[in-house]
C-alpha cells in the first residue's frame, strides 16, 4: 500500500463529503479545500471563525464542528474512560 496515495484519497473523500454536507457555494468550497489542504482539518475547524466567510457559511461550518465534537464526546463517554 502506498500510504501517501491512500492518505491523499482519504483527504479527498473527506473534503468531498464535507462539501456535500455543508452545501457551500462553489467558490467557497474551493477556498475551504485550499485552506484545509494547507493547514489541515484540525486547524481549519479551530480557526475558521477568524477566516473570511459569510455569517451563514460560518454558521454551517460551526454546526458541523459541533456535531463532530459532540459525537467524539459521546464515543469517549460510551468507552467509559477506558
Amino acid at each position: 500500500m502506498n500510504k501517501t496515495i491512500l492518505e491523499k484519497s482519504k483527504e479527498e473523500k473527506v473534503l468531498e463529503l464535507m462539501c456535500a454536507v455543508l452545501e457551500l457555494s462553489e467558490q467557497t468550497e474551493q477556498r475551504v479545500i485550499k485552506i484545509i489542504k494547507t493547514v489541515g482539518l484540525a486547524s481549519f475547524f479551530n480557526g475558521f471563525e477568524t477566516m473570511k466567510f459569510t455569517e451563514e457559511e460560518k454558521e454551517r461550518i460551526r454546526a458541523l464542528k459541533h456535531v463532530i465534537e459532540a459525537k467524539a464526546k459521546s464515543i469517549e463517554v460510551m468507552e467509559g474512560g477506558k
Binding site: K10, V14, L17, V21, A42, K65, I68, E69, E79
Partner: protein, 228 residues
C-alpha cells in the same frame, strides 16, 4: 453538567442546521432517548428523503473525518496498549450495524501499522474469513505481528467462544512462522473489548494449521458468550 447540556444543545442545533430536521422533533426524541441514535438510526425521526440523505452524508463524513484526523495526528500509527488499538479501531468501525467486518492490521516489530486490510465483509451476523489471504498479506508485508479486529453489528463487545476459537486457528497458522497475534479487538456500537486485556487471547499453537475458510457467526445469546 452545564458543559454537557451545552454540548447537547450545540449538537441539536448542528443537526438541525445541517439536515433540516426540525428542532422540536430532535428535542422531543432526545427527551427520552440517546440523541446520538438519530445519527445511527435516522429513521427514528421519520425524516424525508432529503433529510435522510443529509444524515447519511453526515455519518459518512464523520467516519472518514475521524480516520483522517487520527492519521494526521500520528505520522506513524503504533499501538502500545489495548486501549490505543481499541480506540483506533472503534473510530474505524464504531457504530457499524449494517454488516460484520473483519480487519487485520499487519504490524512491524514495534507494532506500527505496515498495512491495514479489510479481510472480509459479511452480513449483519455472519462473515467469512480466509486464513490463506491473511497469510499471503502477512508474508508480503513482512509482518512481525498481527492485530485482529472485527465488529459485532448487534452491539455486544463480549468475545464469544467462537471468537476465541477463530483467534486460536489464526495463532495456529502464524505461531510456527514466528508471527504473533498481539490482540483481537471486538467492536460493538462505539465500544470495544480486547482479548489481550481480558486475558483470553490464545498465544500458543494448539493444533495443526488449518487453512480452510472460517465462517464467523455473531452469537447473539449472551449465555453462549464468554463473560469478560
Amino acid at each position: 453538567m452545564g458543559t454537557k447540556v451545552q454540548y447537547t444543545d450545540d449538537f441539536f442545533h448542528g443537526l438541525n442546521k445541517l439536515t433540516g430536521i426540525p428542532m422540536n422533533k430532535i428535542k422531543n426524541y432526545a427527551k427520552e432517548n440517546n440523541p446520538f441514535n438519530i445519527l445511527e438510526h435516522p429513521n427514528v425521526l421519520e425524516p424525508n428523503q432529503r433529510q435522510l440523505e443529509k444524515i447519511n452524508k453526515l455519518n459518512e463524513f464523520i467516519a472518514t473525518y475521524n480516520v483522517l484526523k487520527l492519521e494526521q495526528e500520528k505520522e506513524k500509527i503504533s499501538f502500545h496498549s489495548p486501549n490505543e488499538s481499541g480506540q483506533y479501531f472503534a473510530s474505524l468501525l464504531g457504530g457499524m450495524k449494517d454488516r460484520e467486518r473483519f480487519l487485520v492490521a499487519f504490524l512491524d516489530n514495534s507494532n506500527s501499522i505496515i498495512e491495514l486490510q479489510t479481510i472480509s465483509e459479511g452480513t449483519t451476523n455472519m462473515t467469512m474469513v480466509y486464513p490463506r489471504e491473511i497469510l499471503k498479506m502477512a508474508l508480503a508485508n513482512d509482518s512481525s505481528n498481527l492485530l485482529l479486529v472485527h465488529n459485532h453489528p448487534g452491539g455486544s463487545v463480549k468475545a464469544s467462544q467462537e471468537d476465541v476459537a477463530i483467534t486460536q486457528r489464526i495463532v495456529d497458522i502464524f505461531k510456527p512462522l514466528d508471527i504473533n497475534v498481539i490482540d483481537h479487538i471486538i467492536i460493538g456500537g462505539y465500544s470495544f473489548s480486547s482479548m489481550a486485556e481480558n486475558g483470553i487471547l490464545p498465544s500458543d499453537k494448539m493444533s495443526i494449521a488449518n487453512y480452510e475458510p472460517i465462517e464467523m457467526e455473531e452469537v447473539m445469546e449472551l449465555d453462549e458468550e464468554m463473560e469478560i
